[in-house]
Symmetry: none
């Protein structure tokens, strides 16, 4: 790496055949495993290929450069989580704050927990300068979904929806991250959902005016 400006972050070609799809999947999975086992610094294309049971050459058939690979992995993860949250948010339009918070927290924590390894591994990758934009974009969409949801709350109205959504989102994402990165005693993990709900609900209620009638 060290290349200043990768031209494209998109995968080089879309796999058509079943066999190559399997290869791509293996590379994908291998990337996450290497990330976890060795860290971003020691993630090399050769190591990834090896663990995927392929050769470097093959890897480069599907990804024009290392960064594109990482980008793809990150993208998939963000999409997964983002869609979960957005779907959840949409499904609770026109309900109470409590219902909303519960749904969103549940969706987010589940999505993150479901593939714990992946989530952990990718915090590293998100930092890389090249991926910032991607993360930022996804976060923006997430906040938009939250704002849209909050706007329909049956029991509250908000003056500054952008700010409220931002804090709402950060209140979910931040503590989860801290926890997943392992900075917390394990046993606390179980209470996470409840705590996040309390955190968000407390905040939202303080910021809400009673709804227009």
């Amino acid at each position: 790496m060290g290349t200043p400006s990768p031209i494209t972050l998109e995968p080089r070609k879309l796999p058509r055949q079943a066999r190559s799809q399997a290869t791509v999947d293996a590379i994908f999975e291998a990337t996450i495993q290497v990330l976890l086992a060795e860290g971003l610094q020691r993630l090399t294309t050769i190591r990834v290929a090896e663990r995927a049971g392929a050769s470097v050459g093959t890897l480069y058939q599907y990804y024009p450069h290392k960064q594109a690979l990482l980008y793809a992995v990150l993208q998939r993860h963000l999409k997964r989580v983002g869609e979960a949250v957005q779907t959840a948010a949409q499904s609770v339009h026109h309900t109470s704050l409590a219902t909303m918070v519960s749904a969103v927290v549940e969706a987010f924590v589940s999505a993150k927990t479901e593939r714990l390894d992946e989530a952990r591994a990718l915090y590293f990758v998100g930092e890389a300068l090249d991926s910032r934009e991607l993360v930022r974009a996804e976060e923006k969409r997430g906040r938009a979904a939250l704002a849209a949801m909050l706007a329909t709350a049956t029991d509250a109205r908000f003056d500054d929806l952008p700010t409220v959504s931002f804090i709402f989102a950060a209140a979910i994402v931040g503590p989860t991250r801290t926890m997943l990165e392992g900075h917390a005693p394990k046993k606390m993990m179980h209470g996470l959902r409840g705590q996040l709900e309390s955190l968000c609900l407390g905040y939202l209620k303080r910021e809400a005016r009673s709804p227009r009638r």
Copy 2:
């Protein structure tokens, strides 16, 4: 070749003469600047030295290896912030939750904002495998200080102080990070203190039982 020596993250030697102190400072500052301008991946010892107006050799007179340099920079920052928060927390023992939250949030945000560049630059570094322990330790001390403070609240008592302190801390750190990393519109920054207070206070009040009488 040559035989390796045991790994230390400590600086190599303390500057004795005046001019060398200046050099060390320059290297320190340069590290942060490079981190910001180029990112952790592109931070090389040569680049740091260059920007500090020194040579690589000089850098290595004071830091046995790149990691030690990063470690030192991170350490200073964490200490600065940690001490600010701990001092603030101690100064509001035996007061109301509102006072406590206000004091702690103010201390934290001020400390982070005071040297905005540094704070931003170091989020990258905290991820590096080698620094994890350092970050974790500092976080632990922070939570302890919060717990000690909360235990003396005049208007609340908590059943599960460790968990509450954890969420409390994460509720401050998380959104601040999101904001500093630039994932938020600039104008939101100004309201940050107020929002964090609201977030924390809302949470703490929900989790509190009324104080012993």
Copy 3:
């Protein structure tokens, strides 16, 4: 940076394809040539690679570090010489001292002379701290072979076989080394075999008691 791995002196991978075998051989040969032309101090991996008509990267595909390369070269040489001597020694069990001395000296000098460059070059390498053990081990095996041989001499018996073998071996190795390192007028080389025989035979006869009857 990055995490180090345990130290091995073994080559990194065995060449599979035909062309890579050629590469490995070229690197091997180049090492000896550089050693001779420049000396151990000036033997650098780049210089070796260059002379081998390869790139540094290629060199490191086969040897994990410089030391492993030197080790390999030394090992092959020691093995060659060691086997020659041991075979010779075994072939003259149960013969007279004169026959034994003649066979061993001949084998040793031939093996050393056969690849004169290699022999000369490697005296340097044997000194390197890392190779000491290898040399010592080979010498030990050599002395054992000599002792086993001497024990079967038809015309002599020895009280202190370990000591006698040690001096016997050193009497062959030492002067040969002095000569090969070039500290002797060239013309003397031709008489070396004869002189070594005389040296060893003189010694052994003095140390021998008459054989058991």
Copy 4:
């Protein structure tokens, strides 16, 4: 190092004052100690200076470069040993072979053993390309002294004195080196003198014609 052709190997200036003589001695001693403790590869001017209780600058006051320092140390050692042998050889002119061998062996082994560390440390240094000439010259003088001595033996005459002296010398030097470099069980060290005498005497007697009358 890595400098192809040092202009001068001579020390930069001869110390006049007592104080500086002490410094030079300390540097000298430190060189040997570092050589032993760390090996030639890790012998750096700074390390030597430190151990000598001086600074690099001071070291360079007396030696124009590292090589000159090593050269000086080696030179002193060679001179010490050389003079011991030559004096001994001269003192036994016109005596029997047995007396001669005994005297020379005794002188050599004593000189080497007297400062065992030094002797061991310097085998490394002698290999360095730059010092070869020095070693060779000293060896030549030694052989000359031996030849001169042998020429006066009362009980033997030699046809090819140069060759005989060469082997004679090598027979003493070689095994001693092997032993000092630690390739031999410790207990053998004690018998070394006797064994060397036997080795040399056996050889010389075989090569001798009876003396002219």
